[in-house]
């Protein structure tokens, strides 16, 4: 089932186009990352599909329209900051969430356990550390076991241990077969957690697809030999190589991640080809991301 389809969604603030003609589709079971630098329109997009911000134009459709125009009780979402009543305890805050969602018998204990807040549930929200607030927000999003979860920069402002905990929690949720939509400006995070990704820049969609296809972690090898034609013939017969491109000074080869440059050297030597140049490097995802977002928009 298609969980969410966004069609030509736009929103501008004054002359700034926060989101500009965005179209996306999220399928059931996707862990969908919306990746982009700060100010690229991620939160505005999430705000619009959660009915917090009115779009200027465009439409979106949740669950193929199955729950009418208020599907939000079936979505657990956390937008920007954890928002709770500061003068109430964590448990009282969760009770309000449960009431809003019309839950019959919510499992407060289980959910508090999951986010590691058991024992602190009677403390006032305002006494919580930022990491605890964030975890409570995840707990509240998960209350009632919604099929879709939305996280906006879930690890923002957390210390390394907090980041690891939150990521682990999200992966745990994903393993339960939930659909997750996550906005992030951290490439590493999207790459580690997500199955699908959409890259935004200045409100425009630059690329979308499976993480592997968009952000490939393939290796590059630059290779040159005294006899280039022989080398080319050899390369064509190695199955682990994905592509060979001729450059001026060398051949640029992309390989599968586990392929070693030493193997290539050995194979060439066995065939009596002497390499004059051999450089192996893995294209860093960070640089790839920067490359994609740097491309000038037409």
């Amino acid at each position: 089932m298609t969980i969410l389809s966004i069609n030509q969604l736009s929103k501008h603030y004054g002359r700034i186009h926060a989101v500009d003609g965005l179209s996306l589709t999220v399928e059931e079971g996707n862990i969908f990352g919306i990746l982009g630098p700060n100010g690229s329109g991620k939160t505005t997009t999430l705000g619009m599909i959660l009915n917090i911000i009115f779009p200027d134009s465009g439409t979106y459709d949740w669950f193929e329209g199955r729950f009418g125009n208020n599907p939000r009780r079936h979505i657990g979402a956390l937008l920007e900051t954890p928002n709770f009543y500061p003068y109430l305890s964590a448990l009282d805050n969760l009770k309000i969430v449960a009431h809003v969602r019309k839950l019959k018998d919510p499992d407060f204990d289980g959910i508090l356990e999951l986010v590691n807040l058991k024992g602190r549930e009677h403390d006032l929200f305002r006494t919580y550390s930022f990491g605890m607030k964030q975890r409570l927000a995840i707990a509240s999003a998960m209350l009632g076991d919604p099929d879709v979860l939305i996280f906006d920069e879930p690890t923002n402002g957390l210390d390394p241990q907090g980041i690891a905990e939150v990521r682990e929690t999200i992966l745990e949720i994903a393993n339960r077969g939930k659909t997750i939509l996550m906005a992030s400006h951290i490439l590493d995070e999207v790459e580690k957690i997500c199955t699908h990704v959409a890259i935004l820049k200045k409100g425009r969609l630059l690329a979308t697809g499976q993480v592997g296809a968009i952000l490939s972690d393939e290796q590059w090898i630059e290779v040159e030999a005294t006899e280039r034609n022989k080398l080319k013939a050899l390369l064509a017969n190695i199955p682990e190589l994905k592509s060979v491109t001729e450059k001026d000074r060398f051949l640029l080869v992309t390989t599968q991640p586990d392929f070693q440059a030493a193997t290539l050297n050995q194979l060439a030597f066995q065939q009596g080809i002497l390499l004059t140049h051999l450089v192996s490097r893995s294209k860093s995802l960070e640089s790839e991301f920067l490359e994609i977002t740097k491309e000038d928009l037409v």
Binding site: I52, N83, Y87, L88, H99, K102
Partner: protein, 268 residues
């Protein structure tokens, strides 16, 4: 309706500002009037404070005390219980979690109505108790003479709270919304009425401003002092209860419609 009221109760039952304002109202309503007992000498034509506590005038005097208290306390509360939702961003979180914007509007209106109802019932109760204690003889006709103060008091509460709600939704920031509420009632509207309107046309229409209409539902009891005004201007100093009632209900409806439009049309 019950679902939304319950939700509002979950939010407010441990809110210290709400509990404090409520407690203040419950304590101050009878106490403020009873202070009059400690003052022995009253200027004519009042002379003695005894009449404050007897039927039927106890409704009038307690009503005027309640007028100030509801203006201050309920007004404060109505601003607070909506701006708090904005400052802690729980308004948008509630919508994200599954309420509609209309739900949010109605939950506030129901709660405001419940608070007004509670304040009015307490007013009626205190008036009855004081009256029974202090009146020498109890005649139904005397007790009932000013019973219309009870519905008037309720509309007055709703009036003050609808202004607070509108300003809270419009301005969103607690401090600035409170400042606007009090400065509108205490300075802006009086200046508009007495400084501008009255100079342009000396007409009774100068009374048809929202705060004045709400106020005239339980007006200053010492109406003898306004005789001079009537002579000079040729119309009454106060709106009649009927005029005040109709004007107030129209304003409340307008303010609530404006609040609804703001809540349902603006980004959160």
């Amino acid at each position: 309706m019950f679902y939304l009221l319950q939700l509002e109760w979950l939010k407010q039952r441990k809110n210290r500002s709400f509990l404090m304002l409520g407690a203040l109202y419950f304590i101050l309503l009878p106490c403020s009037l009873l202070i009059a007992k400690s003052i022995q000498q009253w200027p004519p034509p009042i002379n003695t404070s005894d009449t404050f506590f007897r039927f039927p005038d106890v409704f009038i005097y307690l009503g005027y005390v309640g007028n100030w208290l509801t203006f201050l306390l309920l007004g404060f509360l109505s601003v607070l219980f909506i701006t708090q939702e904005f400052s802690s961003r729980t308004f948008r979180q509630n919508v994200i979690t599954g309420l509609t914007r209309a739900d949010m509007f109605w939950s506030k209106v129901y709660f405001m109505t419940a608070v007004s109802l509670a304040a009015t019932l307490y007013y009626g109760l205190v008036a009855m108790v004081l009256g029974v204690i202090h009146s020498d003889a109890l005649y139904t006709s005397v007790i009932m003479k000013h019973i219309d103060y009870i519905p008037r008091f309720f509309v007055m509460c709703m009036g003050y709270m609808s202004v607070g709600l509108l300003l809270g939704v419009w301005i969103r920031r607690t401090g600035f919304a409170l400042f606007s509420y009090f400065s509108y009632a205490l300075f802006i509207e009086p200046i508009l009425r007495w400084g501008v309107h009255q100079n342009l046309f000396k007409h009774q229409s100068m009374h048809y401003y929202p705060m004045n209409a709400f106020e005239d539902l339980a007006p200053v009891p010492f109406s003898e002092m306004t005789k001079g005004f009537e002579k000079e201007f040729g119309f009454q100093f106060f709106l009649s209860p009927q005029q005040a009632m109709i004007t107030s209900v129209i304003y409340i409806a307008l303010f609530l419609v404006a609040t609804y439009l703001l809540i349902t049309r603006r980004d959160l």
